[in-house]
């Protein structure tokens, strides 16, 4: 009886598979083909153009540096915020709500917010000037101030993207019954030991999800960078955008898109291996 119905699950997932196939796989194949062909024949011309472009090396470096700076800080901040919220009795929802406000803002708008703070006539300069720390308007976001520009972009990215990491981690923390921490406490574990030996291992699945999601998003960083630095701070998606719109060269844009995808997939693979989740060791 039940054996005859084994087709039902397949039938039920069929619409989503068709949908994904049409809207994801087809464009994916097209993009791949676009990247490795020239006028309809296989060719590495686009790849060569991409790699030999003046901005290629810098955009790869910038994207990786930004990811390396932003993701660990976000994870640590999210863990800290999540642990603090977990200790609260009242007002928990309110704090979480406030912390997640940046999530409701589009990344371009977030870029504009930080632009209004960091630009020459921005709030930061006004405050510093008011306090007498600087004597005239200082430029933070130019080609001449790469470090300040990098820090500005990193802060904006952290401001914009930490909430999503925190939500995943708070969800993970909520899954850990308080008795585990209490048992550890009874048997003499310090708060730090409880965090490293009990909490962290138990939220591994959430940590893994957060890392994958956040890293993939970090490699796709664009709007915030574009708003703050324009082409002063080239990143991979920014280059793809330029080749597509400014240069009208879809082939090279596709090559960038493929590169970003490969990097994201590789990062995901690394996380899946490094932050292994052994189902046997879950509650």
């Amino acid at each position: 009886m039940t054996q005859n119905r084994s087709w039902i699950p397949y039938a039920l997932i069929l619409p989503s598979v068709v949908f994904l196939g049409l809207l994801f796989v087809v464009p994916l194949v097209q993009t791949l083909w676009l990247a490795v062909s020239d006028n309809g024949t296989p060719s590495l011309a686009n790849m060569t153009t991409m790699v030999t472009d003046l901005n290629f090396g810098r955009s790869v470096l910038n994207t990786f540096l930004l990811t390396l700076a932003v993701v660990p800080i976000q994870i640590v901040m999210a863990l800290t915020m999540g642990s603090m919220v977990a200790k609260m009795n009242g007002g928990r929802e309110t704090i979480l709500w406030i912390w997640t406000i940046p999530l409701g803002i589009s990344d371009l708008a977030a870029g504009m917010v930080w632009l209004s703070i960091l630009q020459n006539t921005g709030y930061l300069n006004s405050v510093l000037f008011g306090l007498g720390i600087i004597e005239r308007q200082t430029a933070w976001l130019t080609y001449q101030t790469p470090v300040a520009l990098f820090i500005g972009i990193a802060i904006a990215e952290i401001w914009r993207g930490t909430a999503i990491v925190m939500i995943i981690i708070v969800a993970g923390l909520n899954q850990v019954p308080k008795e585990f921490k209490e048992a550890a406490e009874i048997f003499g574990a310090s708060p730090w030991t409880r965090f490293t030996r009990i909490t962290l291992p138990l939220i591994r699945p959430a940590l893994q999800s957060a890392l994958i999601l956040r890293t993939v998003l970090a490699f796709e960083v664009f709007a915030v960078v574009y708003a703050l630095g324009g082409r002063n701070f080239p990143v991979l998606v920014g280059e793809a955008y330029n080749w597509q719109n400014q240069n009208q060269n879809y082939g090279v844009a596709a090559a960038y898109a493929v590169l970003i995808m490969v990097i994201s997939l590789a990062a995901t693979l690394v996380y899946l291996k490094a932050v292994k989740v052994d189902p046997e060791r879950l509650p």
């Binding site: 019954p177 585990f180 048992a183 550890a184 406490e185 009874i186 046997e280 060791r281 879950l282």
Partner: protein, 350 residues
């Protein structure tokens, strides 16, 4: 010296009073059970002693020193949680070793202690496994082993054997008792299994609705319950309560007369079902038997005495038919008299 003094502990969760002033002294090395129905506040009291919960009022002293305000780890105790709280990401071995690792014990000592505790609880075959794949009873034993491995001065156990089958529970019970006695561990043992409490404890504290109704040895609590609740909660079948008329300080039951601590009006007789004997015809307190059930070891009679529901036990050699009326002789030394107004028992006659 690890004696424990619980001094008028109160605990409220919002408007709800979970503990309404609990006082209890546990001597060094003593085994005391907290026995009571679900929701009466046993776990809450244990958590307050452990320092996992703050009390609203009152004091807890361990070894003459107030521990209110001390962190759980500084109270010198171990605990078995009602829901085990065995760490899922550590092997059974590392779970049992956890307390010792926190004390920075060397590997040799860890190994020795873990093997000892594991042996006692029969969990050696699972030492390398993860708790995830173990049954509830196996996990529960891991939790007990984890607590025993640190050889604590004070051990708090919250229904540690509730998930074991009857046979294993009996065996574990005996072994626990032996090892805790040898080590001189002061133990508070939460259970709602009265047989377990009777068998294990030096003293039983019967908890009801956030209060301790009675503290005493198993025999005291069984034979002379302080309140109607205690008598009804302990014993299987529970104690019978029969309201009887008093005339001139005496109660008449068939051919028997008992002097009672009341002059007139009514008094409640607390009668243990197995303390009666079958009386010669016409001389006993009459019981109308509705159902007679031969249980093998004894005969269980369910029916009524003076129109009030009652259950008594007669030797298996007796035969009683359903619907029959039997006369019962009472044992004057084993009767409890209670006030009909507040259900509190009068002190046992000397």
């Amino acid at each position: 010296m690890a004696n424990i003094v619980i001094d008028n502990i109160k605990k409220s969760f919002g408007a709800f009073q979970a503990l309404k002033g609990v006082s209890l002294t546990i001597n060094d090395g003593e085994f005391v059970s907290l026995l009571g129905p679900s929701g009466c506040g046993k776990t809450t009291l244990l958590r307050i002693i452990a320092g996992l919960e703050t009390s609203t009022a009152g004091d807890v002293r361990i070894g003459e020193k107030s521990v209110i305000g001390l962190l759980p780890k500084d109270r010198g105790l171990a605990m078995v949680f009602q829901n085990y709280a065995v760490f899922p990401h550590m092997t059974v071995y590392e779970n049992v070793a956890f307390g010792l690792r926190m004390q920075k014990a060397d590997d040799a000592r860890v190994k020795k202690q873990v093997e000892k505790a594991a042996g006692l609880l029969h969990i050696e075959p699972y030492l390398d496994r993860y708790p995830n794949k173990l049954s509830g009873g196996q996990r529960q034993r891991v939790a007990v082993a984890r607590a025993l491995a640190v050889e604590p001065g004070v051990l708090l156990m919250d229904e540690p054997l509730s998930n074991l089958d009857a046979l294993l529970r009996l065996e574990m019970r005996t072994e626990l008792k032996t090892v805790l006695q040898e080590a001189g561990t002061t133990t508070i043992y939460v259970t709602h299994d009265q047989t377990e409490a009777m068998g294990l404890s030096d003293r039983i504290a019967v908890v009801h609705d956030g209060r301790i109704e009675q503290v005493g040895t198993p025999v005291e609590v069984y034979n002379h319950p302080a309140t109607r609740f205690v008598g009804g909660f302990i014993g299987n079948p529970p104690m019978n309560f029969i309201t009887m008329p008093v005339t001139g300080g005496q109660v008449t039951a068939g051919a028997q007369q008992f002097a009672v601590p009341a002059q007139g009006g009514e008094i409640v007789l607390g009668l243990r079902g197995e303390t009666v004997e079958r009386a010669p015809t016409g001389q006993g307190l009459d019981m109308q038997v509705r159902v007679a059930e031969p249980m093998g070891s004894h005969l269980l009679l369910t029916g009524s005495i003076l129109g009030q529901p009652a259950r008594v036990i007669l030797p298996a050699t007796e035969t009683v038919r359903n619907g029959e009326t039997v006369g019962l002789t009472l044992d004057p030394k084993r009767l409890t008299w209670l006030s009909p107004e507040n259900g509190v028992s009068y002190p046992a006659a000397a």
